[in-house]
Amino acid sequence: MPEGTRAAPAAGAPSAAAALLEVRGLNAWYGESHVLHGVDFEVRGGEVVTLLGRNGAGKTTTLKSIMGIVPRRAGAIVFEGRDTIALSSNRIARLGIAYCPEERGIFASLNVEENLLLPPQVRPGGLTVEQIFELFPNLRERLRSQGTKLSGGEQQMLAIGRILRTGARLLLLDEPTEGLAPVIVQQIGRTIQRLKAEGFTILLVEQNFRFASTVADRHYVMEHGRVVDMIPNAELGASMAKLHDYLGV
């Protein structure tokens, strides 16, 4: 999007130094199974941070815990100085956190426009629908289509687009590039870079660290429900051997 049309960062935009989100000793359970065993990390305002790790390391569960979707969780999740561990997910969303699930969560009984306009605005300063169409022109063409009739890439754009309207400042994106064609992956990458320039803070779950390295400032590596390492993006090249070991690639 051209320079002139960029939305001004929301009032009280994050200062670079303060942690916008702090996760300390996070534990989470699905029924009887204990999935997270004390996750620690932080995301500063305006950063793009990824969680890397193998399948089952607890990346998605970490995002769902931050969003309040995992019912049984313990520890501390501090967003803008407020501990959200005991809040229900609708109240967490109202603080300005939005979540784009791995399976995209497009609603079949809603058309594209209804899907796009579904999430309520929680804060001022979100993108306008027009700005979202500039990011994802395909959506404009297909407003009347049933949400799930879109291609995988378009559904992913819709899933990201609909949370940009809400004014949420922290976006949790779960594998936005999974199963998409390279050209779409590039488009998503450019989108994330633009959102960063707009002042959004993004926590990204990725399997594809090559993609992650093109958008992120820092990477946390997860194993067995814990964060085991942090690699600044600048050191990613030097840490390749270590990373291969972690991810088993």
Partner: protein
């Protein structure tokens, strides 16, 4: 006297009218059931008892408080809907994570309790409820006599059904409802208070049953078992229309009322079973119902 297929027109149109009246109630009741099933995943067996409570609420308002039919149309659904809200908050809310069977058992048990209490108080014979003055009399259409009250019931129920359909399928509130029917956790993570929406939806569905009860009071007698007799047929309507389909339950409700009425004319022996025969056929050919989507 004119005849169609050997049947006097007077009898034919008379039964058609009765079919339409029954269809009006089938449609309103199955619509409430469909809305509740869609969002709560609970088969609300208390629905018939709540319909009966609506009729009794109208009777109470008239005989104990002197409040007439028109205000009852508003007050009775609100009052009975409120009891629904209490039931949802205190009981149903604990069952969502369990098997369907528990919701079915609870609502079925509740229906028996409520009907038992009313029967204990009022006996099994009906209480009369008079037609409001504005709607007494009727129109002579030449080929048949159309009582004003019956015409009102048909028109009112069509309007209520279409308004409900419009809200669910064409408004923002309806979009929340449809989305929450598919994936409540995700809708809640957008900042929507889904538990409250579920409570209000149950209250609305129950209120719709009570509204049907008020409208039924002057036609059928106000009787503790009036809902129990009706609800079995209504469940067949829901199954034929397709569980959770809004338009399906409306259209099927009216259609089956008419089919039932016509059966009374042409083959009276089958009039009590025709809906169930149709249900069996539909279940064999289209298990998801005429308007249902396979999940």
């Amino acid at each position: 006297m004119t005849e169609i297929l050997g049947v006097p027109t007077q009898a034919l149109f008379g039964q058609l009218l009765i079919g339409l009246i029954n269809g009006s109630f089938y449609a309103m009741l199955s619509l409430g059931l469909a809305v509740i099933f869609g969002l709560l995943n609970i088969i609300n067996f208390t629905h018939g008892a709540q319909y009966m409570m609506g009729a009794f609420a109208a009777w109470f308002l008239l005989n104990k408080a002197g409040i007439g039919y028109w205000w009852s149309l508003l007050i009775a659904p609100l009052a009975v809907g409120l009891t629904g809200v209490v039931v949802e908050r205190t009981m149903l809310a604990r069952l969502y994570k369990l098997d369907h069977l528990y919701g079915l058992l609870l609502t079925f048990g509740l229906a028996l309790v409520i009907q038992g209490v009313f029967r204990n108080e009022f006996g099994a014979s009906g209480l009369p409820y008079r037609i409001p003055e504005e709607l007494t009399g009727g129109y002579n259409l030449g080929f048949m006599f159309l009582p004003k009250y019956r015409a009102w019931v048909i028109v009112a129920s069509v309007v209520v059904c279409l308004a409900t359909w419009y809200v669910i399928e064409r408004t923002k509130l309806g979009a929340y409802l449809r989305a929450a029917t598919e994936n409540p956790a995700l809708v809640q993570s957008f900042g929507v208070n889904v538990p409250r929406m579920i409570t209000l939806t149950y209250g609305f569905g129950v209120g719709l049953a009570a509204l049907a009860g008020v409208m039924a009071a002057p036609i059928y007698q106000v009787n503790p078992l009036m809902g129990a007799d009706l609800i079995i047929v209504v469940f067949a309507v829901v199954v034929i229309g397709g569980m959770g389909s809004i338009m399906g339950s409306i259209v099927t409700g009216f259609l089956l009322g008419i089919v039932e009425g016509l059966t009374k004319v042409f083959y009276p022996e089958a009039s009590n079973t025709v809906i169930f025969v149709i249900m069996v056929i539909v279940l064999i050919l289209r298990p998801a119902g005429l308007f249902g989507r396979e999940r």
